[in-house]
């Protein structure tokens, strides 16, 4: 058994930022365990630019953004095991992992940071009629084929879902010579950034069909085509609107789910909306000494925020390791009236620093107010020109606001039209 102060599970931007922050705070024995052959996480395959505008003040590609953190990790004596898959975390923080050269290994830790990222919703999560021919895959899988393996998975493409990964792949496949016939979006709006709709679809004349879905796939061994149809307000296909489109590839870009198999096994409580752990303002789960950050905690659209969140978790883990994080009175946060969820879900009212509550809305609001209240008192109210489900928002809670709260208080964030 190896003895460490901090074990970080996952070497994407979240894991690296948490480890680096903990090191900066003085934690000595740190190890990062990463399943892939290199550090960097999903960013290694995101070769488009648009990363780092907030954090570095310049526009980088995914590998460049990750590269800056990889360099920093390499400059420290933080231990890194790549090609190493974590299998289990026990209640007393023993992390079991396996790799080809060393076989089964156990790492005893004072604190653990969960940074396993997220995965894409697979086809099984959708109900599309038809056989299961080759040529149907998630947009992220196609992204890996094209950008890492240098291999084009098809020539005539239909994309279901207009999330950013789907939009980015529409452009990527087009640039490599494929014909992207249409992007179908079930909802009446796209969850992707406007910039991506313009630069990934409009630039290439790729149509975006809103309120439209794939109802059937055709072909036996290889996909030969799909049937698409419009949907009504209840998102049900409207009979008579079916249309056949010939294609050899169907890319699914229908959402991301935090990767929480390990968290569940160790008994970490999950939030029903985010599908990530319930955490306090230092991103500590309800399991003492186990922290979570990045996409495993909540799906982020900007990696810059992943870095910010992971530094908070790294600091929290350091405090825990040095015995500085003890006791306190925790109250819950709650999103209502259009606010779908809030992270962190718990806040220590004895906290002495400003903290941010991150949240997402469930629909588009224009000119609405974000109101924070507690025990009937309004703590803050700010007008926002636009709020959209695709963009994570935040409100700041100051120690002064926390002063008058009691153990039965609840911090509420709501949208007022």
């Amino acid at each position: 058994m190896f003895d460490y102060d901090l074990v970080v599970v996952g070497g994407g931007p979240a894991g690296m930022a948490a480890a680096l922050k903990a090191r900066e705070e003085g934690v000595e024995k740190i190890v990062i365990l990463e399943r892939a052959e290199t550090l960097g996480g999903i960013l290694e395959q995101c070769i488009h630019t648009g990363f780092g505008l907030h954090y570095f003040g310049e526009e980088l590609s995914g590998p460049e953004y990750a590269g800056r953190f990889i360099e920093q990790v390499e400059a420290t004596d933080i231990d890194v095991y790549t090609d190493t898959m974590v299998l289990n975390i026990s209640e007393d923080n023993v992390v079991t992992a396996v790799n080809n050269s060393e076989g089964l290994m156990q790492f005893k830790a004072i604190a653990v940071v969960l940074a396993m990222g997220c995965r894409e919703r697979p086809r099984g999560a959708l109900s599309i009629a038809g056989s299961r021919p080759a040529g149907i895959m998630t947009a992220g899988t196609a992204q890996k084929y094209v950008n890492i393996d240098g291999y084009m998975p098809g020539k005539k493409v239909v994309i279901l879902g207009s999330g950013d990964i789907g939009l980015i792949m529409a452009r990527r496949m087009t640039l490599e010579g494929a014909e992207v016939k249409v992007v179908c979006e079930l909802m009446s709006y796209s969850g992707g950034l406007q910039r991506n709709i313009v630069q990934c679809l409009d630039d290439f004349g790729i149509p975006l069909r809103l309120s439209c879905t794939v109802v059937k796939t055709h072909g036996k061994d290889r996909l030969e085509g799909v049937t698409i149809a419009n949907v009504d307000e209840r998102l049900q296909p409207i009979p008579g609107t079916e249309e056949y489109i010939e294609c050899d590839t169907l890319l699914l870009s229908v959402g991301l789910i935090p990767e929480n198999e390990l968290s569940k096994d160790v008994g970490v409580e999950l939030d029903r909306v985010t599908n990530g752990p319930v955490v306090d303002e230092y991103r500590e789960t309800l399991q003492p000494g186990i922290f979570a950050c990045g996409n495993v905690l909540q799906v982020h659209d900007l990696v810059d925020y992943v870095t910010e969140e992971s530094q908070i978790a790294g600091k929290g883990a350091a405090d825990y390791i040095f015995g500085k994080k003890k006791g306190g009175t925790y109250i819950n946060t709650k999103g209502v009236d259009g606010v779908r969820y809030i992270v962190p879900q718990r806040v220590n009212i004895e906290g002495k620093e400003n903290l941010k509550l991150y949240f997402r809305v469930g629909q588009v609001f224009k000119g609405a107010k974000v109101v924070v209240e507690c025990d009937g008192n309004i703590l803050s109210s700010r007008k926002k020109v636009k709020l959209a489900p695709g963009e994570m928002e935040n409100v700041t809670i100051t120690p002064e606001m926390l002063e008058n709260m009691t153990k039965d208080s609840e911090i509420i964030v709501r949208i007022e039209q």
């Binding site: 052959e37 070769i47 460049e64 590269g67 291999y151 640039l175 406007q194 020109v385 636009k386 963009e391």
Partner: protein, 120 residues
């Protein structure tokens, strides 16, 4: 002549109307801020785009390495640049920032590597 577009300079996405005469911009309306005005003018007269793609690497850990244009290129030149990039290959090792193609199509822009490949 009136043209409309959506500003993408920030997530707000203001709908902008541009009045043109003989290829000259007469007025820009609908934008909420100055950036929208600037965006609309370049977008209508000379749209520019960053290009990101990958290039073959010989003897690398992976068969391709990602690259980007060192500055935005004219939107209409994207496919022509792709043609040149797809004819090119580099030899491992490759480092972030290595120039893969200098001054592509004489546009004054380089194609540079955005990841490293230490080679097999």
């Amino acid at each position: 002549m009136k043209k409309s577009l959506i500003c993408v300079a920030c997530p707000l996405g203001c709908p902008i109307e541009i009045e043109m005469e003989n290829g000259e911009v007469i007025s820009v309306t609908g934008n909420t801020c100055k950036r929208g005005d600037a965006y609309a003018r370049t977008e209508i007269t000379n749209p520019m785009r960053s290009l990101t793609t990958s290039v073959k690497v010989e003897g690398g850990v992976h068969p391709v390495v990602p690259v980007k244009s060192s500055a935005p290129i004219p939107k209409g030149k994207m496919f022509e640049c792709m043609g040149v990039i797809n004819q090119t290959s580099v030899k491992a090792p490759v480092k972030i920032g290595d120039v893969v193609i200098e001054n592509i199509l004489g546009l004054g822009v380089d194609i540079v590597a955005t990841n490293c490949d230490s080679g097999k």
